[in-house]
Symmetry: C2
Subunit: 325 residues, 2 copies
Protein backbone atom coordinates (compact mmCIF):
# COMPACT_ATOMS: atom_id res chain seq x y z
CA UNK A 1 0.00 0.00 0.00
CA UNK A 2 1.02 3.56 -0.68
CA UNK A 3 0.75 4.40 3.02
CA UNK A 4 3.38 1.77 3.88
CA UNK A 5 5.67 3.12 1.19
CA UNK A 6 5.35 6.74 2.31
CA UNK A 7 5.85 5.96 5.98
CA UNK A 8 8.59 3.36 5.40
CA UNK A 9 11.53 5.37 6.85
CA UNK A 10 9.75 5.59 10.21
CA UNK A 11 7.86 2.27 10.08
CA UNK A 12 9.62 0.93 13.16
CA UNK A 13 8.82 4.03 15.22
CA UNK A 14 5.21 4.09 13.98
CA UNK A 15 4.78 0.49 15.08
CA UNK A 16 6.06 1.52 18.50
CA UNK A 17 3.63 4.49 18.52
CA UNK A 18 0.83 2.03 17.78
CA UNK A 19 1.98 -0.33 20.51
CA UNK A 20 2.08 2.49 23.06
CA UNK A 21 -1.31 3.82 22.07
CA UNK A 22 -2.77 0.37 22.63
CA UNK A 23 -0.83 -0.32 25.83
CA UNK A 24 -1.59 3.09 27.25
CA UNK A 25 -5.32 2.78 26.99
CA UNK A 26 -5.79 -0.90 27.66
CA UNK A 27 -3.91 -0.66 30.98
CA UNK A 28 -7.08 0.80 32.45
CA UNK A 29 -10.34 -1.01 32.91
CA UNK A 30 -13.03 1.61 32.76
CA UNK A 31 -15.56 3.11 30.44
CA UNK A 32 -13.19 5.86 29.30
CA UNK A 33 -10.56 3.45 28.08
CA UNK A 34 -13.32 1.60 26.28
CA UNK A 35 -14.19 4.84 24.48
CA UNK A 36 -10.62 5.88 23.74
CA UNK A 37 -9.73 2.35 22.56
CA UNK A 38 -12.74 2.48 20.28
CA UNK A 39 -11.83 5.85 18.76
CA UNK A 40 -8.05 5.38 18.68
CA UNK A 41 -8.45 1.88 17.28
CA UNK A 42 -10.91 2.66 14.53
CA UNK A 43 -8.64 3.05 11.55
CA UNK A 44 -6.82 6.30 12.16
CA UNK A 45 -4.13 6.93 9.57
CA UNK A 46 -1.67 8.26 12.18
CA UNK A 47 -0.73 11.06 9.80
CA UNK A 48 0.33 13.43 12.60
CA UNK A 49 2.67 10.96 14.35
CA UNK A 50 4.15 10.09 10.96
CA UNK A 51 4.69 13.77 10.13
CA UNK A 52 6.43 14.34 13.44
CA UNK A 53 8.71 11.33 13.01
CA UNK A 54 9.51 12.12 9.37
CA UNK A 55 10.26 15.75 10.29
CA UNK A 56 12.83 14.63 12.83
CA UNK A 57 14.29 12.21 10.32
CA UNK A 58 14.45 14.76 7.49
CA UNK A 59 16.69 16.76 9.84
CA UNK A 60 18.98 13.72 9.83
CA UNK A 61 18.25 12.88 13.45
CA UNK A 62 17.08 9.50 14.75
CA UNK A 63 14.64 10.96 17.29
CA UNK A 64 14.44 7.72 19.25
CA UNK A 65 12.41 7.26 22.39
CA UNK A 66 11.51 10.91 22.75
CA UNK A 67 10.17 11.31 19.22
CA UNK A 68 7.99 8.23 19.64
CA UNK A 69 6.64 9.62 22.89
CA UNK A 70 5.76 12.98 21.37
CA UNK A 71 4.29 11.31 18.28
CA UNK A 72 1.84 9.54 20.61
CA UNK A 73 0.95 12.95 22.10
CA UNK A 74 0.24 14.34 18.60
CA UNK A 75 -2.21 11.51 17.95
CA UNK A 76 -3.84 11.82 21.39
CA UNK A 77 -4.38 15.56 20.84
CA UNK A 78 -5.88 14.86 17.44
CA UNK A 79 -8.21 12.19 18.75
CA UNK A 80 -9.27 14.35 21.72
CA UNK A 81 -10.31 17.00 19.21
CA UNK A 82 -12.12 14.47 17.02
CA UNK A 83 -14.14 13.24 19.97
CA UNK A 84 -15.18 16.75 21.02
CA UNK A 85 -15.81 17.82 17.40
CA UNK A 86 -18.27 15.00 16.99
CA UNK A 87 -20.25 16.40 19.93
CA UNK A 88 -20.06 19.93 18.51
CA UNK A 89 -21.17 18.77 15.05
CA UNK A 90 -23.58 16.18 16.43
CA UNK A 91 -21.87 13.77 14.02
CA UNK A 92 -23.31 10.28 13.95
CA UNK A 93 -20.52 8.58 12.04
CA UNK A 94 -16.74 8.64 12.06
CA UNK A 95 -14.51 6.40 9.96
CA UNK A 96 -17.45 4.20 8.99
CA UNK A 97 -18.56 3.49 12.55
CA UNK A 98 -20.96 5.23 14.91
CA UNK A 99 -19.13 8.19 16.50
CA UNK A 100 -18.22 7.93 20.21
CA UNK A 101 -20.80 10.61 20.84
CA UNK A 102 -23.50 8.62 19.01
CA UNK A 103 -22.54 5.44 20.84
CA UNK A 104 -21.97 6.63 24.42
CA UNK A 105 -23.62 10.04 24.50
CA UNK A 106 -22.05 13.46 25.05
CA UNK A 107 -21.47 13.00 28.78
CA UNK A 108 -19.03 10.11 28.28
CA UNK A 109 -17.37 11.47 25.17
CA UNK A 110 -16.69 14.92 26.64
CA UNK A 111 -14.83 13.14 29.42
CA UNK A 112 -12.92 10.87 27.03
CA UNK A 113 -11.67 13.93 25.14
CA UNK A 114 -10.67 15.69 28.36
CA UNK A 115 -8.86 12.56 29.48
CA UNK A 116 -6.73 12.36 26.33
CA UNK A 117 -6.09 16.08 26.28
CA UNK A 118 -5.09 16.48 29.91
CA UNK A 119 -2.79 13.46 29.75
CA UNK A 120 -1.18 14.89 26.61
CA UNK A 121 -0.42 18.19 28.33
CA UNK A 122 1.05 16.36 31.29
CA UNK A 123 3.25 14.31 28.95
CA UNK A 124 4.48 17.52 27.31
CA UNK A 125 5.22 19.03 30.71
CA UNK A 126 7.24 15.91 31.62
CA UNK A 127 9.14 16.19 28.34
CA UNK A 128 10.18 19.61 29.54
CA UNK A 129 10.73 21.58 26.32
CA UNK A 130 8.90 24.91 26.40
CA UNK A 131 9.07 25.42 22.65
CA UNK A 132 7.34 22.10 22.02
CA UNK A 133 4.77 22.81 24.72
CA UNK A 134 4.09 26.16 23.11
CA UNK A 135 3.73 24.59 19.66
CA UNK A 136 1.04 22.22 20.91
CA UNK A 137 -0.64 24.81 23.17
CA UNK A 138 -0.88 27.22 20.22
CA UNK A 139 -2.34 24.43 18.09
CA UNK A 140 -4.94 23.59 20.71
CA UNK A 141 -6.05 27.19 21.05
CA UNK A 142 -6.18 27.41 17.24
CA UNK A 143 -8.30 24.26 17.00
CA UNK A 144 -10.79 25.68 19.49
CA UNK A 145 -10.85 29.02 17.68
CA UNK A 146 -11.41 27.14 14.42
CA UNK A 147 -14.46 25.43 15.88
CA UNK A 148 -15.78 28.77 17.11
CA UNK A 149 -15.33 30.31 13.66
CA UNK A 150 -17.04 27.33 12.09
CA UNK A 151 -19.98 27.83 14.44
CA UNK A 152 -20.07 31.49 13.46
CA UNK A 153 -20.24 30.65 9.75
CA UNK A 154 -22.74 27.87 10.22
CA UNK A 155 -25.05 27.78 7.17
CA UNK A 156 -23.93 31.22 6.11
CA UNK A 157 -23.42 31.54 2.32
CA UNK A 158 -21.68 34.92 2.80
CA UNK A 159 -18.51 33.21 4.03
CA UNK A 160 -15.51 34.36 1.99
CA UNK A 161 -12.53 32.29 0.94
CA UNK A 162 -10.38 34.10 3.56
CA UNK A 163 -12.82 33.15 6.32
CA UNK A 164 -12.84 29.54 5.19
CA UNK A 165 -9.04 29.50 4.94
CA UNK A 166 -8.86 30.74 8.53
CA UNK A 167 -11.21 27.97 9.67
CA UNK A 168 -9.22 25.15 8.08
CA UNK A 169 -5.88 26.66 9.09
CA UNK A 170 -7.03 26.62 12.70
CA UNK A 171 -8.90 23.34 12.62
CA UNK A 172 -6.50 21.15 10.67
CA UNK A 173 -3.31 22.85 9.58
CA UNK A 174 -2.30 24.11 13.05
CA UNK A 175 -1.81 20.61 14.45
CA UNK A 176 -0.07 19.35 11.28
CA UNK A 177 2.24 22.32 11.66
CA UNK A 178 2.84 21.71 15.37
CA UNK A 179 3.70 18.06 14.66
CA UNK A 180 6.27 19.01 12.01
CA UNK A 181 7.69 21.83 14.15
CA UNK A 182 8.05 19.44 17.06
CA UNK A 183 9.91 17.01 14.83
CA UNK A 184 12.39 19.76 13.94
CA UNK A 185 12.73 20.89 17.57
CA UNK A 186 13.52 17.33 18.67
CA UNK A 187 16.27 17.24 16.04
CA UNK A 188 17.62 20.53 17.42
CA UNK A 189 18.21 22.09 13.99
CA UNK A 190 18.64 25.83 13.36
CA UNK A 191 15.77 28.33 13.35
CA UNK A 192 15.52 28.40 9.53
CA UNK A 193 14.85 24.68 9.37
CA UNK A 194 12.43 24.77 12.29
CA UNK A 195 10.45 27.49 10.50
CA UNK A 196 10.64 25.65 7.17
CA UNK A 197 9.10 22.50 8.66
CA UNK A 198 6.52 24.58 10.56
CA UNK A 199 5.50 26.18 7.26
CA UNK A 200 5.62 22.80 5.52
CA UNK A 201 3.13 21.33 7.98
CA UNK A 202 0.87 24.34 7.75
CA UNK A 203 0.56 24.23 3.96
CA UNK A 204 0.30 20.46 3.89
CA UNK A 205 -2.55 20.70 6.42
CA UNK A 206 -4.40 23.31 4.39
CA UNK A 207 -4.01 21.18 1.26
CA UNK A 208 -5.12 18.08 3.15
CA UNK A 209 -8.29 19.77 4.41
CA UNK A 210 -9.12 21.26 1.00
CA UNK A 211 -9.00 17.78 -0.50
CA UNK A 212 -11.07 16.49 2.40
CA UNK A 213 -13.70 19.10 1.65
CA UNK A 214 -13.62 18.28 -2.07
CA UNK A 215 -14.08 14.57 -1.31
CA UNK A 216 -17.18 15.40 0.69
CA UNK A 217 -18.74 16.39 -2.63
CA UNK A 218 -17.08 13.88 -4.92
CA UNK A 219 -16.38 10.59 -3.10
CA UNK A 220 -18.66 7.76 -2.01
CA UNK A 221 -19.77 6.92 1.55
CA UNK A 222 -17.86 3.65 1.32
CA UNK A 223 -14.59 5.51 0.79
CA UNK A 224 -15.22 8.32 3.26
CA UNK A 225 -16.55 6.26 6.17
CA UNK A 226 -19.22 8.88 6.69
CA UNK A 227 -22.11 10.06 4.50
CA UNK A 228 -21.16 12.10 1.43
CA UNK A 229 -22.43 15.67 1.71
CA UNK A 230 -21.85 15.38 5.44
CA UNK A 231 -20.43 18.90 5.68
CA UNK A 232 -23.59 20.32 4.14
CA UNK A 233 -25.75 18.30 6.51
CA UNK A 234 -23.72 19.77 9.36
CA UNK A 235 -24.18 23.28 7.96
CA UNK A 236 -20.55 23.71 6.86
CA UNK A 237 -20.03 25.86 3.78
CA UNK A 238 -16.66 24.79 2.36
CA UNK A 239 -14.46 25.84 -0.54
CA UNK A 240 -16.08 23.85 -3.38
CA UNK A 241 -19.39 25.62 -2.72
CA UNK A 242 -17.83 29.01 -1.86
CA UNK A 243 -15.97 28.92 -5.17
CA UNK A 244 -19.09 28.29 -7.25
CA UNK A 245 -21.29 30.74 -5.31
CA UNK A 246 -18.66 33.41 -5.78
CA UNK A 247 -18.56 33.03 -9.57
CA UNK A 248 -22.14 32.18 -10.45
CA UNK A 249 -24.37 35.07 -11.57
CA UNK A 250 -27.40 32.93 -12.54
CA UNK A 251 -30.69 32.80 -10.59
CA UNK A 252 -29.70 29.30 -9.49
CA UNK A 253 -27.25 30.96 -7.11
CA UNK A 254 -30.01 32.65 -5.11
CA UNK A 255 -31.92 29.39 -4.93
CA UNK A 256 -28.87 27.63 -3.47
CA UNK A 257 -28.26 30.46 -1.01
CA UNK A 258 -31.86 30.19 0.15
CA UNK A 259 -31.55 26.42 0.55
CA UNK A 260 -28.59 26.99 2.88
CA UNK A 261 -30.19 29.72 4.98
CA UNK A 262 -33.75 28.46 5.27
CA UNK A 263 -34.92 25.46 7.24
CA UNK A 264 -33.11 22.16 7.51
CA UNK A 265 -30.74 20.91 4.81
CA UNK A 266 -31.88 17.33 4.17
CA UNK A 267 -30.76 14.65 1.71
CA UNK A 268 -32.69 16.13 -1.22
CA UNK A 269 -31.13 19.57 -0.68
CA UNK A 270 -27.69 18.03 -0.32
CA UNK A 271 -28.13 16.31 -3.67
CA UNK A 272 -29.20 19.59 -5.33
CA UNK A 273 -26.23 21.46 -3.87
CA UNK A 274 -23.80 18.67 -4.75
CA UNK A 275 -24.89 18.73 -8.37
CA UNK A 276 -24.65 22.53 -8.41
CA UNK A 277 -21.10 22.38 -7.05
CA UNK A 278 -19.74 19.58 -9.25
CA UNK A 279 -21.31 21.02 -12.40
CA UNK A 280 -20.03 24.48 -11.49
CA UNK A 281 -16.46 23.15 -11.28
CA UNK A 282 -16.20 23.56 -7.51
CA UNK A 283 -14.50 20.23 -6.89
CA UNK A 284 -11.84 20.76 -9.55
CA UNK A 285 -11.16 24.29 -8.32
CA UNK A 286 -10.72 22.98 -4.79
CA UNK A 287 -8.23 20.33 -5.84
CA UNK A 288 -6.42 23.03 -7.80
CA UNK A 289 -6.26 25.23 -4.69
CA UNK A 290 -5.05 22.24 -2.66
CA UNK A 291 -2.26 21.69 -5.21
CA UNK A 292 -1.18 25.30 -4.80
CA UNK A 293 -0.78 24.79 -1.05
CA UNK A 294 0.96 21.43 -1.20
CA UNK A 295 3.22 23.02 -3.81
CA UNK A 296 4.18 25.64 -1.21
CA UNK A 297 4.78 22.82 1.27
CA UNK A 298 7.08 21.07 -1.20
CA UNK A 299 9.23 24.20 -1.61
CA UNK A 300 9.97 24.18 2.10
CA UNK A 301 11.78 20.88 1.73
CA UNK A 302 14.45 22.30 -0.61
CA UNK A 303 17.02 23.10 2.11
CA UNK A 304 16.97 19.51 3.39
CA UNK A 305 19.36 16.80 2.25
CA UNK A 306 18.12 14.16 -0.17
CA UNK A 307 17.23 11.39 2.26
CA UNK A 308 14.59 8.67 2.35
CA UNK A 309 12.64 10.87 4.79
CA UNK A 310 12.64 13.81 2.41
CA UNK A 311 11.46 11.59 -0.43
CA UNK A 312 8.70 10.33 1.86
CA UNK A 313 7.54 13.84 2.68
CA UNK A 314 7.57 14.66 -1.03
CA UNK A 315 5.53 11.56 -1.81
CA UNK A 316 3.10 12.59 0.90
CA UNK A 317 2.79 16.03 -0.67
CA UNK A 318 2.05 14.52 -4.08
CA UNK A 319 -0.28 11.95 -2.63
CA UNK A 320 -2.39 14.42 -0.67
CA UNK A 321 -3.59 16.21 -3.77
CA UNK A 322 -4.58 12.90 -5.38
CA UNK A 323 -5.85 11.01 -2.36
CA UNK A 324 -9.21 9.30 -2.26
CA UNK A 325 -9.20 8.49 1.48
CA UNK B 1 -20.00 40.08 54.70
CA UNK B 2 -17.73 37.33 55.91
CA UNK B 3 -16.38 36.77 52.40
CA UNK B 4 -15.14 40.37 52.23
CA UNK B 5 -13.51 40.03 55.63
CA UNK B 6 -11.72 36.80 54.76
CA UNK B 7 -10.49 38.02 51.39
CA UNK B 8 -9.63 41.55 52.62
CA UNK B 9 -5.82 41.24 52.38
CA UNK B 10 -6.08 40.52 48.65
CA UNK B 11 -9.21 42.57 47.88
CA UNK B 12 -7.40 44.84 45.44
CA UNK B 13 -5.94 41.90 43.50
CA UNK B 14 -9.27 40.06 43.49
CA UNK B 15 -10.95 43.14 42.02
CA UNK B 16 -8.30 43.11 39.31
CA UNK B 17 -8.89 39.38 38.73
CA UNK B 18 -12.58 40.16 38.30
CA UNK B 19 -11.84 43.03 35.92
CA UNK B 20 -9.61 40.80 33.78
CA UNK B 21 -12.10 37.97 33.70
CA UNK B 22 -14.73 40.39 32.40
CA UNK B 23 -12.38 42.17 29.97
CA UNK B 24 -10.97 38.93 28.69
CA UNK B 25 -14.25 37.46 27.65
CA UNK B 26 -16.14 40.56 26.56
CA UNK B 27 -13.39 41.48 24.09
CA UNK B 28 -14.84 38.86 21.75
CA UNK B 29 -18.20 38.99 20.10
CA UNK B 30 -19.26 35.42 19.56
CA UNK B 31 -21.40 32.72 21.03
CA UNK B 32 -18.55 31.29 23.10
CA UNK B 33 -17.89 34.53 24.94
CA UNK B 34 -21.62 34.75 25.57
CA UNK B 35 -21.43 31.32 27.24
CA UNK B 36 -18.25 31.99 29.20
CA UNK B 37 -19.54 35.41 30.32
CA UNK B 38 -22.71 33.71 31.48
CA UNK B 39 -20.89 31.04 33.48
CA UNK B 40 -18.03 33.20 34.78
CA UNK B 41 -20.44 35.98 35.67
CA UNK B 42 -23.01 33.91 37.52
CA UNK B 43 -21.93 34.39 41.10
CA UNK B 44 -18.73 32.38 41.41
CA UNK B 45 -17.08 32.86 44.78
CA UNK B 46 -13.58 33.04 43.24
CA UNK B 47 -12.28 30.80 46.02
CA UNK B 48 -9.40 29.45 43.92
CA UNK B 49 -8.04 32.86 42.85
CA UNK B 50 -8.34 34.04 46.46
CA UNK B 51 -6.46 30.96 47.70
CA UNK B 52 -3.67 31.54 45.21
CA UNK B 53 -3.33 35.22 46.13
CA UNK B 54 -3.50 34.58 49.88
CA UNK B 55 -0.90 31.81 49.55
CA UNK B 56 1.53 34.22 47.91
CA UNK B 57 0.78 36.80 50.58
CA UNK B 58 1.19 34.38 53.50
CA UNK B 59 4.72 33.87 52.17
CA UNK B 60 5.18 37.62 52.70
CA UNK B 61 5.36 38.34 48.99
CA UNK B 62 3.25 40.88 47.10
CA UNK B 63 2.76 38.69 44.03
CA UNK B 64 1.73 41.61 41.86
CA UNK B 65 0.87 41.34 38.20
CA UNK B 66 1.95 37.75 37.86
CA UNK B 67 -0.11 36.47 40.77
CA UNK B 68 -3.21 38.20 39.40
CA UNK B 69 -2.61 36.64 36.01
CA UNK B 70 -2.26 33.14 37.43
CA UNK B 71 -5.26 33.66 39.71
CA UNK B 72 -7.33 34.27 36.56
CA UNK B 73 -5.99 30.99 35.16
CA UNK B 74 -7.07 29.14 38.31
CA UNK B 75 -10.62 30.44 37.88
CA UNK B 76 -10.69 29.70 34.14
CA UNK B 77 -9.57 26.13 34.79
CA UNK B 78 -12.23 25.74 37.44
CA UNK B 79 -14.98 27.13 35.22
CA UNK B 80 -13.87 24.99 32.25
CA UNK B 81 -14.32 21.96 34.49
CA UNK B 82 -17.71 23.15 35.75
CA UNK B 83 -18.98 23.56 32.19
CA UNK B 84 -17.84 20.07 31.16
CA UNK B 85 -19.05 18.53 34.44
CA UNK B 86 -22.53 19.83 33.78
CA UNK B 87 -22.53 17.94 30.48
CA UNK B 88 -21.21 14.80 32.17
CA UNK B 89 -23.79 15.00 34.98
CA UNK B 90 -26.53 16.28 32.67
CA UNK B 91 -27.05 19.01 35.30
CA UNK B 92 -29.88 21.40 34.59
CA UNK B 93 -29.01 24.04 37.18
CA UNK B 94 -25.85 25.73 38.38
CA UNK B 95 -25.75 28.56 40.92
CA UNK B 96 -29.51 29.08 40.70
CA UNK B 97 -29.58 29.47 36.92
CA UNK B 98 -29.97 27.04 34.04
CA UNK B 99 -26.56 25.41 33.40
CA UNK B 100 -24.71 26.38 30.18
CA UNK B 101 -25.37 22.86 28.99
CA UNK B 102 -29.13 23.22 29.62
CA UNK B 103 -29.20 26.63 27.96
CA UNK B 104 -27.00 26.14 24.89
CA UNK B 105 -26.77 22.37 24.56
CA UNK B 106 -23.70 20.12 24.84
CA UNK B 107 -22.23 21.10 21.46
CA UNK B 108 -21.71 24.73 22.51
CA UNK B 109 -20.72 24.05 26.08
CA UNK B 110 -18.08 21.44 25.22
CA UNK B 111 -16.47 24.12 23.06
CA UNK B 112 -16.74 26.81 25.75
CA UNK B 113 -14.93 24.52 28.20
CA UNK B 114 -12.23 23.70 25.64
CA UNK B 115 -11.81 27.40 24.93
CA UNK B 116 -11.18 28.30 28.58
CA UNK B 117 -8.96 25.31 29.14
CA UNK B 118 -6.76 25.74 26.07
CA UNK B 119 -6.31 29.46 26.75
CA UNK B 120 -5.36 28.66 30.35
CA UNK B 121 -2.65 26.27 29.24
CA UNK B 122 -1.30 28.81 26.78
CA UNK B 123 -1.22 31.43 29.55
CA UNK B 124 0.75 29.04 31.76
CA UNK B 125 3.17 28.35 28.92
CA UNK B 126 3.67 32.12 28.48
CA UNK B 127 4.30 32.46 32.21
CA UNK B 128 7.13 30.03 31.71
CA UNK B 129 7.47 28.29 35.07
CA UNK B 130 7.53 24.52 34.68
CA UNK B 131 6.68 23.82 38.31
CA UNK B 132 3.50 25.89 38.06
CA UNK B 133 2.60 24.30 34.74
CA UNK B 134 3.08 20.89 36.30
CA UNK B 135 0.91 21.81 39.31
CA UNK B 136 -1.99 22.76 37.04
CA UNK B 137 -1.43 19.90 34.58
CA UNK B 138 -1.47 17.42 37.48
CA UNK B 139 -4.68 19.01 38.78
CA UNK B 140 -6.35 18.76 35.38
CA UNK B 141 -5.47 15.11 35.00
CA UNK B 142 -6.73 14.53 38.54
CA UNK B 143 -10.01 16.30 37.83
CA UNK B 144 -10.60 14.10 34.79
CA UNK B 145 -9.68 10.99 36.74
CA UNK B 146 -12.10 12.11 39.46
CA UNK B 147 -14.92 12.33 36.95
CA UNK B 148 -14.03 8.88 35.63
CA UNK B 149 -14.08 7.42 39.15
CA UNK B 150 -17.39 9.12 39.82
CA UNK B 151 -18.82 7.53 36.68
CA UNK B 152 -17.50 4.17 37.87
CA UNK B 153 -19.24 4.51 41.24
CA UNK B 154 -22.44 5.86 39.74
CA UNK B 155 -25.38 4.59 41.85
CA UNK B 156 -23.20 1.99 43.47
CA UNK B 157 -23.87 1.60 47.23
CA UNK B 158 -20.72 -0.52 47.62
CA UNK B 159 -18.49 2.54 47.38
CA UNK B 160 -16.15 2.74 50.37
CA UNK B 161 -15.01 5.85 52.18
CA UNK B 162 -11.57 5.49 50.57
CA UNK B 163 -13.10 5.44 47.10
CA UNK B 164 -15.16 8.51 47.87
CA UNK B 165 -12.13 10.28 49.34
CA UNK B 166 -10.23 9.58 46.12
CA UNK B 167 -13.08 11.03 44.06
CA UNK B 168 -13.26 14.32 45.98
CA UNK B 169 -9.49 14.62 46.26
CA UNK B 170 -9.28 14.43 42.47
CA UNK B 171 -12.37 16.45 41.67
CA UNK B 172 -12.05 19.33 44.12
CA UNK B 173 -8.98 19.21 46.33
CA UNK B 174 -6.44 18.85 43.50
CA UNK B 175 -7.20 22.29 42.06
CA UNK B 176 -7.40 23.94 45.51
CA UNK B 177 -4.00 22.42 46.17
CA UNK B 178 -2.57 23.56 42.81
CA UNK B 179 -3.78 27.12 43.47
CA UNK B 180 -2.09 27.25 46.89
CA UNK B 181 1.08 25.59 45.57
CA UNK B 182 1.23 28.12 42.75
CA UNK B 183 0.89 30.95 45.26
CA UNK B 184 3.91 29.59 47.14
CA UNK B 185 5.90 29.06 43.93
CA UNK B 186 5.27 32.67 42.87
CA UNK B 187 6.63 33.79 46.24
CA UNK B 188 9.71 31.64 45.66
CA UNK B 189 9.79 30.24 49.19
CA UNK B 190 11.70 27.12 50.25
CA UNK B 191 10.48 23.58 49.50
CA UNK B 192 9.07 23.07 53.03
CA UNK B 193 6.73 26.02 52.65
CA UNK B 194 5.74 25.05 49.11
CA UNK B 195 4.80 21.58 50.38
CA UNK B 196 3.01 23.02 53.43
CA UNK B 197 0.77 25.19 51.25
CA UNK B 198 0.22 22.31 48.78
CA UNK B 199 -0.94 20.16 51.69
CA UNK B 200 -2.98 23.04 53.11
CA UNK B 201 -4.93 23.41 49.84
CA UNK B 202 -5.45 19.67 49.54
CA UNK B 203 -6.99 19.31 53.01
CA UNK B 204 -8.98 22.49 52.68
CA UNK B 205 -10.40 21.19 49.38
CA UNK B 206 -11.36 17.85 50.90
CA UNK B 207 -13.06 19.64 53.80
CA UNK B 208 -14.81 22.02 51.41
CA UNK B 209 -16.20 19.16 49.31
CA UNK B 210 -17.31 17.17 52.37
CA UNK B 211 -19.33 20.17 53.55
CA UNK B 212 -20.69 20.60 50.02
CA UNK B 213 -21.88 17.01 50.07
CA UNK B 214 -23.41 17.45 53.54
CA UNK B 215 -25.26 20.59 52.37
CA UNK B 216 -26.78 18.59 49.53
CA UNK B 217 -28.69 16.70 52.23
CA UNK B 218 -29.24 19.50 54.71
CA UNK B 219 -29.57 22.89 52.98
CA UNK B 220 -32.42 24.44 50.97
CA UNK B 221 -32.53 24.96 47.19
CA UNK B 222 -32.55 28.73 47.78
CA UNK B 223 -29.18 28.55 49.51
CA UNK B 224 -27.59 25.98 47.19
CA UNK B 225 -28.68 27.45 43.86
CA UNK B 226 -29.50 23.93 42.70
CA UNK B 227 -32.04 21.38 43.92
CA UNK B 228 -31.31 19.76 47.27
CA UNK B 229 -30.63 16.05 46.87
CA UNK B 230 -29.07 16.88 43.52
CA UNK B 231 -26.17 14.45 44.05
CA UNK B 232 -28.63 11.60 44.58
CA UNK B 233 -30.57 12.59 41.47
CA UNK B 234 -27.28 12.47 39.57
CA UNK B 235 -26.48 9.05 41.02
CA UNK B 236 -23.66 10.25 43.28
CA UNK B 237 -23.25 8.33 46.51
CA UNK B 238 -21.42 10.70 48.88
CA UNK B 239 -20.06 10.52 52.42
CA UNK B 240 -23.25 11.29 54.39
CA UNK B 241 -24.93 8.25 52.83
CA UNK B 242 -21.80 6.06 52.80
CA UNK B 243 -21.40 6.72 56.52
CA UNK B 244 -24.94 5.64 57.40
CA UNK B 245 -24.96 2.63 55.04
CA UNK B 246 -21.72 1.45 56.59
CA UNK B 247 -23.06 1.52 60.16
CA UNK B 248 -26.68 0.55 59.74
CA UNK B 249 -27.55 -3.15 60.31
CA UNK B 250 -31.34 -2.75 60.05
CA UNK B 251 -33.48 -3.98 57.11
CA UNK B 252 -33.91 -0.33 56.11
CA UNK B 253 -30.36 -0.46 54.80
CA UNK B 254 -31.20 -3.06 52.15
CA UNK B 255 -34.21 -1.04 51.11
CA UNK B 256 -32.05 2.05 50.57
CA UNK B 257 -29.42 0.03 48.69
CA UNK B 258 -32.15 -1.29 46.39
CA UNK B 259 -33.49 2.23 45.82
CA UNK B 260 -30.05 3.28 44.64
CA UNK B 261 -29.42 0.32 42.36
CA UNK B 262 -32.84 -0.20 40.81
CA UNK B 263 -34.55 2.08 38.34
CA UNK B 264 -34.49 5.86 38.41
CA UNK B 265 -34.01 7.84 41.64
CA UNK B 266 -36.81 10.42 41.57
CA UNK B 267 -37.93 13.06 44.05
CA UNK B 268 -39.80 10.61 46.29
CA UNK B 269 -36.75 8.34 46.56
CA UNK B 270 -34.51 11.33 47.23
CA UNK B 271 -36.76 12.34 50.12
CA UNK B 272 -36.67 8.82 51.57
CA UNK B 273 -32.88 8.66 51.33
CA UNK B 274 -32.46 12.18 52.76
CA UNK B 275 -34.51 11.30 55.82
CA UNK B 276 -32.56 8.04 56.23
CA UNK B 277 -29.27 9.94 56.08
CA UNK B 278 -30.17 12.84 58.41
CA UNK B 279 -31.83 10.56 60.97
CA UNK B 280 -28.87 8.18 60.81
CA UNK B 281 -26.48 11.04 61.66
CA UNK B 282 -24.85 11.12 58.23
CA UNK B 283 -24.79 14.90 57.94
CA UNK B 284 -23.22 15.43 61.36
CA UNK B 285 -20.64 12.74 60.72
CA UNK B 286 -19.72 14.40 57.42
CA UNK B 287 -19.25 17.80 59.01
CA UNK B 288 -17.14 16.07 61.67
CA UNK B 289 -14.97 14.50 58.98
CA UNK B 290 -14.69 17.88 57.23
CA UNK B 291 -13.50 19.43 60.52
CA UNK B 292 -10.80 16.78 60.76
CA UNK B 293 -9.49 17.74 57.33
CA UNK B 294 -9.65 21.50 57.76
CA UNK B 295 -7.91 20.95 61.08
CA UNK B 296 -5.06 19.27 59.19
CA UNK B 297 -5.07 22.25 56.82
CA UNK B 298 -4.80 24.66 59.76
CA UNK B 299 -1.70 22.85 61.10
CA UNK B 300 0.12 23.54 57.84
CA UNK B 301 -0.06 27.27 58.55
CA UNK B 302 2.03 27.04 61.73
CA UNK B 303 5.41 27.76 60.09
CA UNK B 304 4.14 31.02 58.57
CA UNK B 305 4.46 34.43 60.23
CA UNK B 306 1.43 35.97 61.88
CA UNK B 307 0.20 38.21 59.07
CA UNK B 308 -3.22 39.39 57.89
CA UNK B 309 -3.01 36.76 55.13
CA UNK B 310 -2.42 33.96 57.61
CA UNK B 311 -5.34 35.11 59.74
CA UNK B 312 -7.46 35.15 56.56
CA UNK B 313 -6.52 31.59 55.69
CA UNK B 314 -7.32 30.55 59.25
CA UNK B 315 -10.69 32.28 59.07
CA UNK B 316 -11.32 30.48 55.80
CA UNK B 317 -10.49 27.17 57.46
CA UNK B 318 -12.92 27.85 60.31
CA UNK B 319 -15.55 29.17 57.98
CA UNK B 320 -15.50 26.19 55.62
CA UNK B 321 -16.68 23.78 58.29
CA UNK B 322 -19.57 26.12 59.20
CA UNK B 323 -20.50 27.46 55.79
CA UNK B 324 -24.02 27.41 54.44
CA UNK B 325 -23.15 28.45 50.86
Amino acid sequence: MLRELVFAPVAKELAEVERRIQARISSRADLISEVTTYVLGSGGKRVRPALLLLSTRVCECEGGERAVDLAVVAEFMHVATLIHDDIIDNAQKRRGQPSAHARWGPHVSVLAGDFLYSHSILRLVSDGDFRILKAFADATVAMTEGEILELKWHRNPDILYEDYLMVITCKTAALFSAACRTGALIAGVDETRVEALTEFGLNLGIGFQLVDDALDFAASEEVLGKPVGNDLLEGKVTYPLIHVLHRDRSPKRDEIRRLLCDGQVGEAEVETIRRYVTEGGGVDATVEEARRHVGKAREQLVPFADTAARRSLEMLVDFIAERKW
